[in-house]
Chain length 273, copies 2
């Protein structure tokens, strides 16, 4: 592959597509990527960023990649798209979310999901209320996907599932589980009641242990904020409060750990695994 | 409380101790705190930092606090020590590990733990090989403590358990579970064999499922690096490989989630819970 001058449209040596060389930080593509670091712009443009070589390679073909931007070292690798921009290490560092960037990211189109399309088969949903830590949300999505979660619902004040940090920590699972953002959880709980999907709030204000609970075939687990747990109105609306038994002096588990143990325990019991 | 000039030694209005006012970044206490951000210095001085109001309040009395440093807003609060330095918001920001510091930290003395002092009662140990993410190690320590883990052993290339980030994410549990750092894990496995403590490596290279495994009363779980799992030599030396059943397209769980599910499952089975 060769490219001769700024913004030249040049053909790959592998004949598989076209590259555009970006050498200026003022380029509109660079400006767009930087703008996508803000949730407001991700929401408006319905786009998000996937960073890192393996993560970009693992984007399923059913998701639309707007474009990939990478440094020269990836120029001979095949991707699901032909729309590839090559840039310098210096510019890539400015658009990367990681401290030591691998030098590749994709801008991906969000998918609209229809709530009615969710299966009525047995299984579980996860409802997330006011969770703040991107790593925690990423881990919850990863575990939920590992046990075929039917859908994840995030409250309005939960960290954005499409922020770079969350996407990265989902390790590609974000593409395989339906995620509904900015949900009115109380309204959702009313809908679940109508559909006879029982809701279980993970909380410390109960003596009901998860191991002593007989779960229905179709349920939803509710997990709350790292410091304050689940909001009072949601706790009041949930069908059940349950907790995970603990022994030590610690008062609680990390929110993503508690949610994951609940998912595991419930999956075993309803014979998902 | 009043203080009139730089480095004045002044008495608390509550008569409970003495404060020292630090207004210079060149003060030796400030220099020491900054030096403790490096593992080498923490190891040499056998000290570590605990940051945040609740975390400082929760330090058990059985641990020696060298001193507390905080901003003026904490001046009327009682702590386990009288050795309290007051500093400015500007200086505190320079010594804090958090982005929006609460304005309080303690410098705490590490405790020497005797390996032989560990109980021979039934229960489990956790062995951590090459784990890199501070949040993951913190969550593992937190879950381990929640199920009365008898001891945690960290390989030489695992993130330092006494770094500020790990300490913070353990939520105070670091004080309640014996932690052995810089271990030669293969040597440890030999010792465990002699003591008839069976070791179980969490790995993907096996068909043996954790739910189909009958655990002995005294065992050790081994968890590995986020990207690469457990080192080959340690896998070869472990008594058993086990894995957690999964369903989704994902290939693995987050390392701290996998370890926590294993701890939970094993604790149930050996009737710790």
């Amino acid at each position: 592959m060769q490219y001769l001058y700024k913004n030249a449209r040049i053909q790959s040596s592998k004949q598989r597509g076209f590259y555009m060389l970006i050498e200026s930080i003022h380029n509109n593509i660079i400006k767009q990527i930087i703008s996508l670091q803000d949730k407001k712009n991700r929401d408006e443009q319905k786009l998000f960023i996937v960073e890192g070589y393996k993560q970009v390679q693992d984007i399923p073909e059913s998701w639309d990649i707007e474009y990939i931007i990478c440094t020269e070292k990836y120029k001979d690798i095949s991707f699901h798209t032909d729309k590839i921009y090559i840039t310098t290490d210096t510019i890539f560092k400015k658009i990367a979310d990681t401290k030591t960037p691998q030098g590749i990211l994709a801008v991906v189109k969000k998918q609209e999901i229809d709530l009615e399309s969710i299966s009525n088969n047995k299984g579980f949903f996860v409802i997330v209320d006011s969770l703040q830590d991107p790593g925690n949300l990423g881990s919850i999505i990863r575990t939920a996907e590992a046990y075929n979660c039917k859908g994840i619902f995030l409250s309005k004040n939960t960290v954005d599932a499409f922020s770079s940090k969350v996407v990265r920590s989902t390790m590609g699972t974000i593409f395989n589980v339906p995620i509904f953002q900015e949900c009115d959880i109380n309204l959702l709980l009313e809908n679940f009641k109508k559909k006879n999907i029982k809701t279980y709030a993970l909380a410390l204000q109960t003596d009901k242990l998860i191991t002593n609970t007989k779960f229905e075939d179709s349920i939803a687990i509710i997990v709350g904020n790292e410091a304050n747990g689940i909001s009072k109105d949601i706790l009041d609306n949930a069908d059940n409060l349950i907790k995970i038994e603990m022994l030590g002096k610690t008062q609680s588990l990390n929110a993503s750990i508690a949610c994951s143990i609940a998912i595991y325990e419930i999956s075993k019991q309803i014979s998902v695994i």
